[in-house]
């Protein structure tokens, strides 16, 4: 086996899952749409027909790369982070607070400070779960989820209360100054320069995983914690650190949405990004590079159902239904496991009396 296999090992399962998702989508489309040919056309070609839909697709791709990558980091270290929504939200509110209320920032220092604040807010949220796990063996799966849910309500209060923009009809904070807003492309779509940030983050995480000492330690801890402990690695650190990193990336997803898309924190904007990030990470396996195609397909499916809905008689519920199917397929993981079985050299030897 060559090194490429380590990096792309999970691709086979990923591709099979995605093909299955597409096939099921088509079946549903044929079943529920009256003008089938038009629906199919808009479903497949729709996202690429005009710059608006291309831009929106790439914009949701950006957010999904951030959140998918964040969850991948946690998975790689064999920890869970289900607090994505809360971490995105706190990242967004932190960035907004910095940009709206901190005086004397120029566009560069504002960008840096806001990103740092967002990463810190998200990282801290997730890090608490890590500390709880190490200290009192609290399951990080539960604690990250509960913490996130609690924080969402606090931030909702901030947005509708003290930070509310009284001049807006929406439940939103004040808008950040134009000098802090990221470069937009393909106007009037949501696409902005944070897409490069997301891609750089993927490259950086890949580099950390496979080319650094800490990456090695993290991978070993994720593979077999007992072995890592036996080898003298600091296993407790590699519960907290991956969670902090994961939370920080989710925080950045929040700040990129603030600086690139909404230019304020709108109540409930996180919806979908956090959970879809988990689905993206599950498709990607634990391979950071696979996050890119995986997030792309997700963004494409989103956009496809949206355009098909607008242009043809594609029912709105069908879009959600397809997403639900994707989630189901992935979380059952049957398909990708089967694929791994095909590519495995030897079957896993299993003890146990269940045959």
């Amino acid at each position: 086996m060559k090194r490429t296999n380590r990096l792309f090992g999970h691709m086979a399962g990923t591709i099979i899952t995605l093909v299955a998702v597409l096939i099921i989508s088509i079946i549903f489309l044929l079943l529920f749409s009256s003008d089938k040919s038009e629906s199919i056309y808009y479903f497949f070609a729709g996202p690429f027909l005009n710059s608006l839909s291309i831009g929106n697709m790439l914009s949701s791709f950006t957010l999904l790369v951030f959140s998918g990558l964040a969850i991948t980091v946690a998975f790689k270290a064999d920890v869970f982070n289900l607090g994505g929504e809360g971490q995105i939200y706190s990242g967004a509110i932190a960035a907004t607070a910095v940009l709206v209320y901190l005086p004397g920032l120029n566009s560069f220092s504002g960008f840096i400070l806001a990103s740092l604040a967002a990463a810190a807010a998200g990282g801290m949220m997730a890090g608490i779960s890590g500390v709880l796990k190490n200290r009192w063996n609290v399951d990080e799966l539960i604690s990250s989820f509960l913490l996130s849910n609690a924080v969402i309500h606090i931030i909702d209060y901030l947005i509708t209360g003290p930070l509310w923009d009284k001049e807006s009809y929406l439940l939103t904070t004040r808008t950040i100054d134009i000098r802090f807003q990221l470069l937009s492309f393909l106007r009037p779509s949501n696409l902005n320069s944070s897409i490069f940030g997301a891609l750089i983050a993927v490259g950086l995480i890949t580099f950390i995983f496979f080319f650094t000492k800490q990456g090695y330690e993290l991978r070993i801890c994720g593979m077999n914690r007992e072995f890592a402990h036996y080898g003298g690695l600091n296993t407790a650190f590699y519960v907290t650190a991956p969670l902090v990193l994961s939370g920080a990336l989710l925080g950045l997803a929040g700040s990129s949405a603030v600086m690139g898309i909404h230019h304020a924190t709108i109540k409930g904007f996180y919806s979908g990004i956090g959970w879809n990030g988990i689905a993206v990470a599950l498709i990607a396996g634990t391979n950071p590079l696979a996050v890119i195609p995986s997030a792309f397909i997700f963004a494409y499916l989103n956009q496809a159902s949206e355009t098909a809905m607008l242009k043809a008689d594609f029912p709105f519920e069908l879009g959600s239904l397809i997403q639900a199917i994707v989630f189901l397929l992935i979380s059952s993981k049957i398909i990708s496991d089967k694929a791994n079985g095909i590519f495995a050299l030897f079957p896993k030897k299993k003890g146990g009396i269940v045959d």
Partner: protein
């Protein structure tokens, strides 16, 4: 049962695991399948069980074909396997484990455990396989788990029973019991396939022996036409001593400085897992063998000495320093290496690559300002693989290596650190004798260089072959510590069983 012309070729590794294998056996026959690690025994057995599909060839039972690569088909044909390291589902009772997935039903909905219990009780009576059905599975020792698995297969009415190195983790007594059970099964007309490295056992129970070497079936002959020496020769393809290599015990180590000592160590986890008042010391360059039957405290002692668990009472002194509170990381820095008994879960990260496993202790010296280049990892792995003769490519997952190679990975990694003390536990579990002999020679040379070796083993022969001094652990206590010259196989056995005691 007949196996004809089975072929299995692994493209990825280029290994011809089975090459035109023909094998046949009949009810009431015990066929022993012997061969070195990597000879293809496990692959053949996995093909029989249906968990691996053969490239070509046929398996038939009672002249009915068994579909290759289908566990259901093998199961229907009555083929069942007792695994080398059986596991039970922890929180369930023995009874529930036995019937798991095949519970009798009342009104098609409710499980009818009472009926299952009666059925199993009658099986137990027939085969005299006694085991408390209501015990929690997690309380069983490995021999009992094995028995539970056997009961499961008998409950499922399997007629062809495959035992995959069943004695690997059993004590002498438990082996005796197992042999009695197997011969009883034979008398009941079961077909038995027995895989083992230990020729002395094979010659005690088998009716027929089949030897495999490098994927080929070398011979299949009735037992009276073979001798252990000839069989061994066929297994390795050349004449070699089956016995353990002799060590020279010419050095007087009593005057060498004491490097490590255990003082008044006590630990209690449960009534079956405890140590009380352990006192031991080990000199520089000495091999101290700690013998004992599993479940007599060997596991806890291993965990405590290696820093995975901390003692509740007593001290561990290494180089005049109290190390009782140290983690494995701290012990490693001070110069203690450790080769665990549980190689696949603790000794290696099975899903990681060979290279990643080899650099575990060395990566801290390899990185340049935090950058750990894959090229330098591979280079290091290749050097280690060449020096210690380890198979495989650096980027291959380590779980695809044979047991002997995995042990070499662990040992080479630990020795490379030039430790002052090595804790090595059950080093030859699952190794064939040429790997084992190689390992023993390696350990002997390491000791000659002045490294102290603490050998924990339940294999009396291994303890006798390697140790300078021998301690016997029985029921959580040290029964005796004596120079090797004062001990023999029989006396160690008696101390291990607690028949004799020098306390």
């Amino acid at each position: 049962m007949k196996i004809s012309g089975i072929n299995k070729y692994y493209k990825e590794t280029g290994v011809h695991a089975c090459n035109e294998v023909y094998l046949s056996t009949e009810p009431g026959n015990i066929l022993a399948l012997v061969g070195e690690n990597g000879a293809g025994k496990s692959t053949l057995m996995n093909i029989l069980c249906g968990s691996v599909s053969a490239d070509s060839g046929r398996i038939s039972v009672n002249d009915r074909n068994v579909k290759s690569g289908s566990p259901e088909s093998s199961s229907l044909a009555g083929i069942g396997m007792i695994h080398q390291h059986p596991e039970g589902a922890g929180p369930l009772s023995v009874l529930e484990n036995i019937v798991l997935g095949y519970e009798p039903r009342r009104f098609k909905i409710f499980t009818f455990l009472k009926k299952a219990e009666l059925e199993i009780l009658s099986i137990q009576k027939d085969f005299r396989l006694y085991l408390d059905l209501h015990k929690n599975c997690s309380e069983l020792n490995s021999a009992q788990v094995q028995r539970m698995e056997l009961l499961h297969l008998l409950y499922r009415k399997k007629d062809i029973l495959i035992f995959d190195e069943p004695t690997a983790s059993l004590s002498d007594n438990q082996i005796e019991e197992l042999i009695t059970i197997i011969s009883r099964l034979k008398n009941e007309g079961k077909t038995i396939l027995f895989i083992s490295h230990k020729l002395n056992e094979v010659f005690r129970i088998a009716d027929e022996i089949a030897v495999m070497r490098k994927g080929k079936l070398i011979l299949q002959k009735p037992i009276h036409k073979l001798t252990p020496a000839i069989t061994a020769q066929e297994m390795i393809g050349r004449a070699e001593d089956v016995n353990y290599p002799k060590r020279n015990h010419d050095r007087d180590l009593r005057k060498a400085p004491i490097i490590y000592s255990i003082e008044n160590l006590s630990y209690r986890k449960s009534d079956s897992e405890f140590l009380s008042n352990i006192n031991l010391h080990i000199h520089q360059g000495e091999i101290l063998g700690i013998a004992g039957i599993r479940e007599n405290g060997l596991e806890i002692l291993e965990n405590i000495i290696s820093g995975m668990t901390h003692p509740q009472k007593g001290k561990l002194i290494f180089n005049d320093m109290d190390v009782s509170g140290e983690s494995p990381a701290g012990l490693r820095i001070r110069g203690i290496s450790y080769v665990p008994a549980d190689r696949l879960n603790r000794g290696v990260s099975a899903d990681s690559t060979i290279a990643d496993n080899l650099i575990l202790l060395n990566y801290k010296r390899m990185h340049k300002m935090g950058i750990l280049a894959p090229a330098s990892i591979n280079k290091w792995a290749e050097t280690m693989q060449n020096t210690y003769n380890i198979d495989g490519l650096p980027q291959q997952q380590i779980k695809h290596l044979s047991g002997g190679n995995i042990q070499k990975v662990i040992l080479s990694r630990e020795l490379r650190e030039n430790p002052d003390l090595i804790i090595i536990c059950e080093p030859s579990w699952g190794l064939d004798f040429s790997s084992r002999n190689q390992l023993h020679i390696e350990l002997d040379q390491t000791a000659k260089r002045g490294t102290a070796i603490l050998l924990i083993s339940s294999d009396i022969d291994e303890i006798l072959a390697l140790s300078d001094r021998i301690s016997v652990l029985y029921d959580g206590k040290i029964n005796i510590t004596e120079a090797k010259s004062e001990m023999n196989r029989k006396s160690i056995g008696e101390y291990m069983l607690g028949i004799r005691s020098e306390r």
